[in-house]
Amino acid sequence: MRLQIEDVLCTFCGCLCDDIRVEVDGGRIEKVRGACRLGSSKIMGHSRIKSPMIRVNGELREASYEEAYRKAAEILVSAKHPLLYGWASTTCEALKKGILLAEEIGGVVDTTATVCHGPSIIGIEEKGLVGSTLGQIKNRADLIVFWGCNPSEAHPRHTLRYSSNASGRFIPEGRKDRKVLVIDVRETRTARNADRFLRIQPGTDYEMISALRMIIGGKAESLPEDVAGVSRKELVEIAEMMRSAKFGAIFFGLGLTHSRGRYKNVDNALSLVSELNSHTKFVIMAMRGHYNVTGAGQVLAWSSGYPMAVDYARGAPYYNPGETSCCDLLSRRDVDAAMIIASDPASNLPRGCVEALAEMPVIQIDPFENPTTFFADVVIPSAIAGIEAEGTAYRMDGLSLRLRKLVDTEYPSDVEILQAILDNVRRLRDDN
């Protein structure tokens, strides 16, 4: 029987669109409507891992779930400093279990924020975050700034649902009632659709923001004629565009956080927005990548006090990105085992980190095969969160929504898998 399910959440990017229609037939997803290309392909799914596997003499061999749980627990219990990494593409409920597991085994929990907006969070620790929900921007913003991000490619429905092309109460005509400014090192598709594009040299974001702060602060005359290749005149025009908006919103991406300057770029942008509020209304938001990377930070924050990179080795949470963050731990070989959940570090981490992972025992929990599978020692296939399992996810602006279960599955959920590993850890402890 064909069943149409309305208002389904898309589990691809941080937009967490909640207006998708899915057609289900015979326990299978047949059609996805209303999602973007990226979301649609995510919801339709691809090559599943069929069975749990354990590596024996260099080869992955099929095993039972019980054997896989037991082996995973053995790896975690014998490790002096295990890393529990991923969490951005699963539910908050899974991470809650993961944190409990980390507390019990004395491990480190880190999320994929470490390779995307980790620097943004460090910037927020310096300055705070002047933000809003996306609906506030939809209803009010007459200036949208995209800085170092390209939603046309990476967050395809962002502009239509929340930003440049959306209409709202005080912006009845949508795109016509808004100006769009793009600041980037290259002319992206987003830049081509903007009212104004400011091209800057790579690695000069910080200087550009300082110059804008000078102009907003009434000190334009103290600026040099040329700021890192951009004329003062042009910067004055950009600053004027910001100051004269009734409600401005800056969205920023990895172009700001991962170029030279890193968290200081975000730190400076946060100050710029804070200071713009002395003249008009302005907010700023990070374009979060994975659909629940924001939620992972939220769960960690209320559980441990910190939003990522939390080390439970000594029983109490310790946080220091640069020291306790995934890439730093791996590249320095400070950890001796890893559990990877709903993530593919083999494709997304720097080479030195991947090499380190390949040398240590690795447990993988994921519905899908990916390059991390090739060096994992224990592979545990899971139900797909938001399709085969319900739970909570947080959108890029911090709004939480409930993911639904659309179809039945034989696979255990991440929560069930983590609970089973935890049970095995406790059993091993009791045996010793």
């Binding site: 809650k96 507390e103 506030q136 509020n277 439970y312 109490a316």
Partner: protein
């Protein structure tokens, strides 16, 4: 379980320090009981503490934690066999909140401000707070639907919306913060008085407050409206406070309680035309409370040292950040609210802080009826709740107040009446201000007292009321109140000798209010349009699902005649 030989204070039942036994059966106070005997001979015994206004869960808490790793590293405790790890001082993690309340002998705490659209997050955090019973008040004061109903003077529709909003948020009561200001802040402005119209909505804060108060009584909600005044935190704002309270004088309460509860009164009892001539107007406010009977307050006492200010009063936080040159987080919430978070430090030698400190104490000491006063710090705005024993000691000892004043800026003597106040609060009054009154004000019938059938939430302290003179032995009072000898929650011992021995899951209270179906239908059809056009999420994904309340306690209310809707 039987608690034997304690010196019991249960003012709600007319018991003021009598030696008696307390029996517990099935989590409630009973006529008689068997089982475990707790020897409380000569010790101070009272109902478990009830915090009626605290910020313990939701987005602004996490905003505070995320922007303040410097705070999270304070107060770190590793996990134990019973406890998960604790972190933080002003913005503790969820576990620390539950354990620290329990160690103080508190068994109930209410989160004071949650926007409906973000209530799911609030409940996610409430679920993680161990031991205490809890609930969350729901924000309505800058909500588009509310303001439109007020403008149309459609009280039936407003009642339907409030009932629906409480259900959507799984909320306990109507919170109003700087009414209208949250909307004005959407374009960076504010409302300046209760008669200043909200831009684009053509209603005034006074109209919003009055309408919500009327609807609150129409719905017979257990709690009254819970109000954070306009102009809060600004010199000279005591006139706004009194003007606002006057608005509500003629409204008839639908239950045996106040018509309005004033949140953190201290922040709205300011005189002066600016920070230079800033002074206390606590005595004027207390006089008003002494002459009227429709309002209650909680203190919002400040504690010297670090704090984290967090409120739906976003323009106030913007001002705080500017004054303090502090980190500033702001969060506007579509169609409903705005909010902000700013770290703070209260300093003894800072004139304004010294006067603020005095104001909280003056309010408690000058208001004659302790049933009108709830002891709070507006955690963590005035400072963290772990400092409640300090406030208890200050209220009970003039000597301690004098000692403290010697360490403060001298204006505390000229700009407040505190030096001349002789009153020393006794144990019964402390129990009222920390237990009986907050329970009655919130409408929690089974809490704040030890009558037969009440929840067996009990605290026992290593303080011997027959031997100790709180006026002189204030250090012992503070030390004793800081670590309960026993905290009993729902009949189970959760704290023994100041240590957590069990961490059961508490209940979450929310109010399900019934309204006539035709009003609900009418309201929903206009609300649907808001979701189609203005909200960024779908209506079907908006309401907090049952999955987020593992241990709910539903309080029924509603328009008469009672008729259930779906």
């Amino acid at each position: 379980m039987i608690i034997k030989g304690g010196i019991v204070y249960d003012p709600a039942n007319g018991i003021f320090g009598e030696e008696m036994d307390i029996c517990i059966e099935n989590g409630r106070i009973a006529e008689d009981a068997g089982g475990e005997v707790i020897d409380a001979r000569g010790l101070l015994v009272m109902p478990g503490g009830v915090d009626a206004h605290s910020h313990i869960a939701g987005p602004k808490l996490n905003t505070g934690r995320i922007m303040r790793p410097d705070d999270s590293r304070m107060g770190t405790e590793p996990r134990t066999g019973v406890c998960r790890p604790s972190t933080g001082y002003t913005v503790p993690n969820c576990y620390a909140i539950g354990y620290r309340y329990a160690r103080l002998g508190y068994t109930t705490a209410f989160e004071a401000a949650t926007p409906i659209i973000e209530a799911r997050h609030t409940h996610e955090e409430l679920e993680e707070i161990p031991i205490v019973d809890k609930g969350a008040l729901t924000l309505f004061g800058s909500n588009w639907t509310v303001m439109e109903c007020v403008r149309e003077n459609d009280m039936e529709k407003l009642a339907a919306y409030v009932a629906w909003g409480l259900r959507a948020a799984r909320g306990y009561g109507v919170k109003i913060v700087n009414p209208g200001g949250g909307e004005a802040w959407g374009f960076g402005s504010n409302v300046k008085s209760i008669h200043d119209p909200v831009p684009h909505f053509d209603v005034t804060p006074a109209q919003i407050i009055r309408a919500l108060a009327e609807v609150n009584e129409r719905l017979r909600l257990p709690h009254s409206i819970h109000l954070h005044f306009n102009n809060l935190g600004r010199p000279g704002n005591y006139t706004t406070a009194i003007e606002t309270l006057e608005l509500l004088k003629d409204i008839k309460p639908s239950r045996m309680r106040q018509v309005v509860h004033v949140a953190h009164m201290q922040f709205s009892a300011y005189g002066g035309t600016g920070w230079k001539d800033f002074e206390s107007k606590a005595s004027v406010i207390a006089d008003y409370f002494n002459q009227t009977d429709h309002a209650t307050m909680d203190l919002g006492q400040i504690i010297f040292g670090p704090a984290t200010t967090m409120t739906a009063d976003a323009p106030l936080e913007y001002a705080n950040a500017r004054i303090g040159h502090q980190k500033w987080s702001n969060h506007d919430i579509e169609l409903e609210e705005s909010s902000g978070v700013v770290p703070w430090v209260y300093m003894r030698k800072m004139p304004v802080n010294a006067v603020q400190w005095a104001i909280g104490l003056e309010l408690a000491l000058l208001t004659k009826d302790p049933w009108k006063v709830v002891m709070t710090t507006d955690h963590p705005n005035g400072g963290p709740f772990v400092n409640y024993p300090e406030i208890i000691a200050l209220l009970m000892s003039r000597e301690k107040r004098e000692e403290e004043m010697k360490t403060l800026h001298e204006v505390v003597r000229s700009r407040s009446t505190l030096p001349s106040i002789e009153r020393e609060i006794d144990w019964s009054e402390i129990v009222i201000m920390t237990r009986a009154a907050p329970a009655r004000i919130l409408g929690l019938e089974d809490k704040g007292h030890l009558g037969i059938g009440a929840d067996a939430d009990i605290s026992i302290y290593n303080i011997r009321p027959d031997e100790i003179d709180p006026s002189k032995d204030h250090a012992k009072v503070k030390a004793g109140m800081s670590r309960a000898k026993y905290t009993i929650k729902g009949g189970a011992v959760v704290v023994r000798d100041g240590e957590i021995v069990a961490a059961p899951q508490g209940r979450t209270y929310w109010v399900d209010a019934a309204v006539p179906e035709r009003d609900m239908d009418r309201m929903l059809s206009s609300l649907k349009e808001k979701f189609e056009r203005y909200y960024s999420i779908r209506m079907s994904n908006y309401m907090v699902q049952d999955a987020y309340l593992s241990n709910p306690f539903v309080v029924r209310a509603g328009v008469q005649p009672l008729k259930e809707v779906i």
